[in-house]
């Protein structure tokens, strides 16, 4: 013990250096948002990759539980089969949007196959080209919330590239000030109830509880409720802000969806494709 004290006091310059240097680095990382975001991001990357590896195994472990819940759901559905006949899914409901003078029609469809556990999730619905469904149409949830886009269409069935997919990007706005952003999912967080709003300009102030709605650019009608901000102002490395959004859509219990038919979709697409990207 005495030797240790002699050793420490003899090289006190070095030990004091270590102490003060650690305090300095700690202050730097704690109080400067850029340094903090870099440190957090790199740790997040490491942790995220580890979790992804682990998830592959975990999915197998969860199979039994998923099976049980599926069987229970199946039983529940069978018992309610009679009640379901009251829902007339074959009928087109026409909604006239008198404010912007565009008309969208909504077609109800039943989810035949749903998936929420993968990185890129695809659903199947029981409506196809015979009902007028085309690739690229928007899909929304019955009460509130967005679901995704129509991906491939067959005669009687269609697949939906849900929001829980790495290529899905929905144009959204903050309801209170119409600030534009993009809604994406699965950026290091594979919680099906949470998505991220990205590419919000830096000067916009986000707060917890701000409502996110669709912007109306693209195939979604404007003003569809998407979710609420749960973690605002996440700094990214570029000049934009991100925020975590609590989605209104509950993908795990989704049974019916509405496909949005936009009457002028083809006209708009043709017009916009006439603009060459190099101009």
């Amino acid at each position: 013990m005495r030797n240790l004290w002699i050793f420490i006091s003899r090289y006190n310059a070095f030990f004091l250096f270590i102490i003060f240097f650690t305090v300095g680095i700690y202050l730097t990382v704690k109080n400067n948002s850029y340094q903090r975001s870099v440190t957090l991001n790199s740790t997040n990357e490491v942790v995220g990759t580890a979790y992804e590896r682990l998830n592959v195994f975990k999915r197998y472990l969860n199979l039994g539980m998923v099976n049980d819940s599926l069987a229970a759901e199946n039983a529940k559905l069978k018992s309610r089969l009679l009640g379901l006949t009251t829902v007339d899914t074959a009928k087109d409901v026409k909604v006239v949007d008198t404010v912007t003078n565009q008309d969208y029609t909504y077609l109800a469809a039943k989810v035949v196959k749903n998936s929420i556990t993968l990185r890129n999730n695809i659903m199947t619905i029981n409506k196809g080209s015979i009902d007028g469904i085309k690739s690229g149409m928007a899909v929304i949830a019955p009460q509130k919330g967005v679901v995704g886009f129509i991906r491939d269409v067959s005669e009687h069935l269609a697949t939906i590239q849900s929001l829980l997919h790495k290529d899905t990007k929905i144009s959204v706005t903050l309801k209170k000030n119409n600030a534009l952003g993009s809604l994406v999912w699965g950026d290091g967080n594979f919680d099906i109830k949470k998505a991220f709003i990205k590419e919000v300009p830096n000067h916009i102030k986000m707060y917890v509880g701000d409502t996110i709605v669709t912007s109306g650019y693209g195939s979604f009608p404007s003003g569809i409720l998407v979710g609420r901000i749960s973690r605002p102002n996440v700094a990214t490395n570029d000049n934009f802000l991100s925020g975590e959004v609590n989605l209104f859509t509950d993908f795990s219990t989704l049974q019916y969806v509405y496909v949005v038919k936009y009457k002028k979709a083809e006209e708009q697409k043709a017009l916009e494709s006439a603009v060459k990207p190099n101009e």
């Binding site: 250096f17 305090v23 730097t28």
Partner: protein, 171 residues
């Protein structure tokens, strides 16, 4: 005598930080070369100062700078590194018992020793400072260039100041 040293150092601290914060903070050549003259205060602290006091002074000076530069902790860390280099260099290059000069300034130690001493301290300070400020290795070339050019600028000003306050002492 002792109180004289303290008063001189306090005045020096205020002067150097005043110049650094109100004059040199607004200076810089194409964002490449920024002088940090305040490190001269740490370079000129007397020989007999205990290590812990030196570290505390370095840290406090760095924090004061940080408060004005809005870079919490960056200057403080760099100053602590400078203090470590200072202690190491003095203990290696000088015989501890034979030191009878009060402070490691140009007038007492001569040009050769002082310029090497200043160079080592300043370059270590600047390296830590600029790398902590950018905090990524992708721009390492640009950071090193900024560091080198700032180092030259700082050293020039330090030597200039030292020659202005040069006192011929009987050796």
């Amino acid at each position: 005598m002792n109180s004289r040293i303290i008063i001189v150092n306090v005045i020096r601290w205020f002067l150097l930080l005043f110049v650094q914060i109100f004059l040199l903070k607004n200076m810089g050549f194409y964002d490449l070369s920024t002088p940090f003259i305040y490190v001269l205060f740490l370079l000129l602290l007397p020989f007999g100062i205990p290590n812990i006091v030196l570290y505390l002074l370095a840290f406090a000076t760095g924090l004061t700078l940080d408060a004005f530069y809005d870079t919490m902790g960056v200057h403080a860390t760099a100053c602590v590194v400078l203090a470590f280099v200072r202690i190491s260099f003095i203990s290696i290059s000088l015989n501890r018992d034979a030191i009878d000069d009060p402070e490691p300034s140009l007038s007492y130690m001569g040009f050769q020793w002082f310029s090497l001493y200043a160079f080592l301290c300043v370059i270590s300070h600047h390296l830590v400072l600029f790398f902590l400020e950018t905090f990524r290795l992708t721009e390492v070339g640009y950071t090193l260039m900024r560091c080198g050019l700032s180092c030259i600028f700082t050293l020039l000003i330090i030597l200039l100041v030292e020659f202005i306050f040069y006192r011929r002492t009987p050796r």
